[in-house]
Symmetry: C2
Subunit: 210 residues, 2 copies
DNA sequence: GTCTATAAACTGATAGAC
DNA sequence: GTCTATCAGTTTATAGAC
């Protein structure tokens, strides 16, 4: 009987997961076929069902893996003792780099939120996203406690604006790349630097509470 | 013979487009069936193929409609004469409201952007984005010319951070709704207000160029 | 015996044709 | 409105390897 979470040591299961990740990220849940996944993984279709009892469970395993990788990449930031500006720099760099270099994992999660967020929202939130939420917002909460984050700002909004900019870069990059007026598609580090300035110092010429 | 762009005056075609929009947004391209779309539109499947020669062309027509609606909602902002703070307020409100109230159209476009192959309708996505890009960035460029946007800031980055926050709210709302630490899912206007403050005034306690 | 793999067959849904 | 050829996910039977 196929176990819900196959051993990571099993090479076959890992190759299936890799192939499934790419397929789901590229074609969506319905658009990805078990046949194509099996072929890409170099195993038979029946073998896929040996490791994962159903397409749904395979998909969930892919999502869980993506969440785990994301968490692994962000935990070190939360444990850093650097000043807020440096932590923000590290956070933006890490998130942008993770999004771009692990593009398939990022796409599969973003897609899931668009396709099924309302239906699977609760489970996703509880099982996958709440951990990352706590880790990431912690950076901003501690900065406010240290007096490095402006007192009037909700740390959650500061986190949201930061993560939003990273996600925006990732999601619109392939489209804006062909826009001659957008010079950042090929320069993530320049985008990151500019966004940090915008976030830290604001965009208003004459700061004012409105 | 089915025309690529059926007359908007034709009631049947409009109902098919509405049903297709909802189906594609909810189930994805592959997950949406022509049978279900026809049934939802209250017409026969053959009638769907009469108006749209293939599933692919129906999908492209849906994307085109979504792009047009988005543009219609944003053009008035670019023509406003209000001060920058008010224009920013209007922009965030309009974008957030459009995303939420026209959720199906927004989801269909955002999902299309996540397609890796970009084989289908990438030119369309570019067309959507480049038109809106000019309209939206114009608000920030003029603000800088008027001395209302801080001189050191690239207007494009200011635009990106603004739009990013709106998209982030829309995309993560259904997941963060179940997170007890995120209080904004049911309060878009509070989120908009907080984001405007973050964008205009920054999050650093002691502004510094880093 | 359990684990891993496969081929072949089954059932239902699909896009599209007539 | 019916038909069809195709392809989807899934199951069953089978068989070598540790």
């Amino acid at each position: 009987m196929p176990s819900p979470t196959p051993h990571a040591t099993c090479e076959g299961a890992r190759q299936i997961l890799d192939a499934a990740l790419e397929a789901f990220a590229t074609h969506g849940y319905s658009g990805a076929s078990m046949h194509a996944i099996a072929q890409q993984a170099g195993v038979s279709k029946a073998n896929v069902f040996h490791h994962f009892a159903s397409k749904e469970l395979l998909y969930l395993a892919v999502l869980r893996t993506a969440a785990q990788r994301w968490r692994e990449n962000l935990v070190p930031i939360a444990q850093s003792n650097a000043c807020f500006a440096d932590q923000l720099k590290l956070l933006v760099q890490r998130v942008l780099d993770h999004l771009v270099s692990e593009s398939a994992q990022s796409r599969v999660v973003l897609r899931e939120m668009l396709e099924n967020g309302a239906l699977r929202g609760r489970e996703l939130s509880e099982e996958i996203f709440n951990d990352n939420f706590r880790i990431e917002t912690g950076v901003f909460r501690r900065a406010q406690a240290n007096g490095e984050l402006r007192a009037g700002v909700d740390p959650i909004l500061a986190w949201a604006a930061t993560l939003a900019a990273c996600l925006f870069f990732f999601q619109t990059r392939d489209v804006l790349r062909f826009n001659p007026d957008f010079p950042y598609a090929e320069a993530p580090e320049r985008f990151a630097q500019g966004i940090r300035d915008v976030l830290l110092n604001g965009i208003a010429a004459h700061p004012d509470l409105s």
